[in-house]
């Protein structure tokens, strides 16, 4: 069977696995022979759904190992989500007054790491939490305890993302912000990477100066360890994303070298670096916009996926995207595909990973929202693409694997024999937007995230 064949993948719906409703699965990792999946909510129409960590044992049985606790609503101010339409804000506020309040709204990144005081590798989990993002640690996969102050002492930091092991440290990027009752999932409360070689002791330190010294950098959006370097991609809505790299070093912050500026000269059409991967000796960086194609909070976009390839010396080629003249020469997409893999609704490549000799790329495809506006049946949904040489790309799965409201592949996680993909299903948000906008309410088959399992 070809590496690029859709028949390599099966779709698992949590409801068929006996698991409760959850619209978003954000991350997956293998720990102690089990697969762990972090779930969360979109933030509209699903406020009463708690974030959970799910575990799959080797026999294929699923369990909930952590469900975020309810907290006293008086401790959490009502908030509005800056990335959601204004009408949704108001509906959200009304519902928030009636719904339960949870400590964490999502478990969004996981890594297995052995710090100085860890007797054995432990499972680390990053959260999104309105009271300040948390980092949790578990040695047994059942009991999770925080290893830092909420928001590293800054309650304006909504969460953490991109947990990455590099050298003898665990790195994590601050993600999103909370301020004046507004949650902004895109602009970080601090554009910083934190690291620790001993998380158990709660010893965390910045690995960068804020924003790499550039006020335009709003967040570190992806991290990747490869080829002896730690790579960091940013969001920059003023000039386009940046890519930085550092070698391991004893002193902090690390010494960083900037490789890409101004969104690879796509400027604000390339506002966010969304995923990084090493494949066949080269570095691949995907970009686009976070959210549904258009960043309404910052008025940037619409944008669609671009993909570039860097050599170890930092020279880069355009693989997918808009041809252009640049200070480093004429760039023509080697895949002969324009932004979005020729699909303008492919807003970003939210996941990029090597598995079994191929590079896989999962997209966020927001055409369902457009269909809603046009009063049409839902269409679109995430796409999964793959390439065996990094240049020629083939569609493996599309249309959300049969569920157009399944807008995004949020993470790809390879094990020795399997490739897991987590997804986000926006059915509840689409339904709410339809009701608020007097549109025909779409009939989504499922409101659950799906897991894709590739063999």
């Amino acid at each position: 069977m070809s590496l690029l064949s859709s028949s390599r993948f099966v779709r698992l719906d949590p409801s068929q696995l006996g698991l409760p409703l959850a619209p978003v699965a954000q991350c997956a990792v293998e720990f102690g022979g089990h697969l762990y999946v972090g779930t969360g909510r979109i933030g509209a129409g699903d406020l009463d759904i708690p974030a959970r960590i799910l575990r799959r044992d080797p026999e294929g049985h699923w369990h909930i190992v952590l469900e975020t606790p309810e907290v006293d609503s008086g401790k959490l101010a009502p908030f509005a989500d800056r990335q959601l339409p204004m009408a949704v804000h108001y509906a959200q506020r009304e519902r928030l007054a009636r719904s339960a309040h949870f400590l964490d709204t999502g478990y969004v990144s996981m890594a297995v790491f052995k710090g100085k005081d860890d007797p054995a590798p432990a499972l680390y989990v990053a959260t999104l939490s309105v009271g300040g993002g948390r980092l949790l640690r578990s040695v047994d996969g059942e009991i999770f305890r925080p290893v830092c102050e909420p928001g590293m002492g800054n309650p304006g930091i909504l969460g953490f993302a991109a947990l990455t092991v590099f050298g003898d440290r665990l790195y994590v990027a601050a993600s999103g912000s909370v301020s004046d009752g507004i949650v902004d999932r895109q602009q970080a409360g601090a554009c910083l990477i934190y690291c620790s070689d001993n998380p158990v002791a709660g010893l965390w330190a910045p690995a960068t100066e804020p924003g790499f010294g550039d006020e335009g950098n709003g967040a570190v959006t992806c991290l990747h360890a490869g080829d002896g370097h730690l790579y960091a991609g940013t969001s920059n809505r003023e000039r386009g994303y940046q890519l930085w790299r550092a070698v391991d070093g004893a002193s902090l912050p690390l010494q960083w070298e900037r490789l890409i500026v101004d969104g690879a000269y796509g400027f604000t059409s390339n506002p966010v670096a969304t995923a990084i991967a090493t494949f066949d000796g080269s570095l691949y960086v995907a970009s686009g916009t976070d959210g549904a194609g258009y960043d309404n909070a910052s008025d940037v976009g619409p944008s669609a996926i671009e993909l570039i390839r860097l050599s170890p010396t930092g020279e880069w080629e355009l693989i997918i995207g808009q041809p252009r003249f640049t200070p480093s020469g004429l760039k023509v997409p080697l895949a002969m595909m324009g932004p979005g893999l020729d699909d303008p609704f492919n807003a970003n490549a939210s996941a990029l990973v090597e598995w079994k000799g191929a590079l896989y790329l999962g997209t966020t495809q927001w055409e369902a929202f457009r269909a809603l506006e046009l009063e049409e049946n839902l269409v679109g949904g995430f796409q999964l693409w793959a390439s065996t040489d990094g240049t020629e790309w083939h569609a493996v799965l599309d249309e959300g694997g049969g569920a157009p409201s399944c807008v995004s592949i949020t993470a790809l996680y390879p094990t020795e024999t399997q490739l897991w993909a987590t997804t986000a299903n926006y059915a509840v948000l689409l339904e709410l937007m339809a009701q608020l906008g007097n549109h025909r309410v779409p009939s989504a088959q499922s409101k659950n995230f799906a897991l894709l399992l590739g063999h």
Binding site: E238, D262, Y265, T268, V300, F325, L330
Partner: protein, 300 residues
Amino acid sequence: MPEPLFILCPPRSYSSIVCGMLGQHPQCYGLPELNLFLADTLGEAWYGSMFMRSIGKHGLLRSLAELHEVEQTEDSIIRAQEWVDARLHWTIPQVFDHLQECVGDRILIDKSPSTLFRRDALARLLTSFPDASLLHLTRHPRGTGDSVIALREQSAGLKNLNRLAGESERNDPERMWRLSHELVLAMTEHLPLGQYMRLKGEWLMSNLDLYLPQICEWLGIRCDATAIEAMMHPEFSPYAHKGPRNAPLGNDPNFLENPALDHARLARLKEPTLAGELSWRPGGTFDPRTVKLAKQLGYY
């Protein structure tokens, strides 16, 4: 025959000197401003607006005189006018076909800013030449606006527009800049990959050795040293100097006065900023729509 190259930009975007340079490539022919996409036929374009009845027609008259008689004199311009009057029923593509026959297998280059005056003009270009190469040339909105204001100050007839710029949005160069670039982006969005390319004029003018070969590579024409050296001399274009009294213009008046590259000046070329007061609108700053678009084009 090769497909033509159209340079798309509002006025004051370096288009005269860029067209002059590209037109000196051995495989290209740079035209002055023809302004032909304002109508479907030559007659409608020729007599359809005050602009074309005055300076707008100089470019085509000079082109016809040069290509038909290898000289631009008052007499050859009169005969060019007679040629036009005999062909008022011709479609615009027919006129371009004729010009193409005159220059052989060289790539025709047109840079008429009037193509962006109205949506239907650009639509006409895209319909008439669906496979043409399109170079979208940009310049910082502050630089463009300051240059528009300065040019108007040189003309007794246009000075009044500057006085109205602060009172009437229609005469504000910022609006012209925004509408022109928005139009190009909207109407080229779905073109095949590579048919449309965008370039910051400041980048090109301050680093010709880097960008001229890239443009040649894109167009699929020679990029050897001889070809690049030829492009460094826009002053050798037959349209780089004032024409005879009955058709003196057809290009930016400043370019016609000083067509040679001033390398020292180009080396000092700096991009202005989006922040701050506008010279032509005291107390005013750029509209957020302009700022958004400018950032999309790589300006800050």
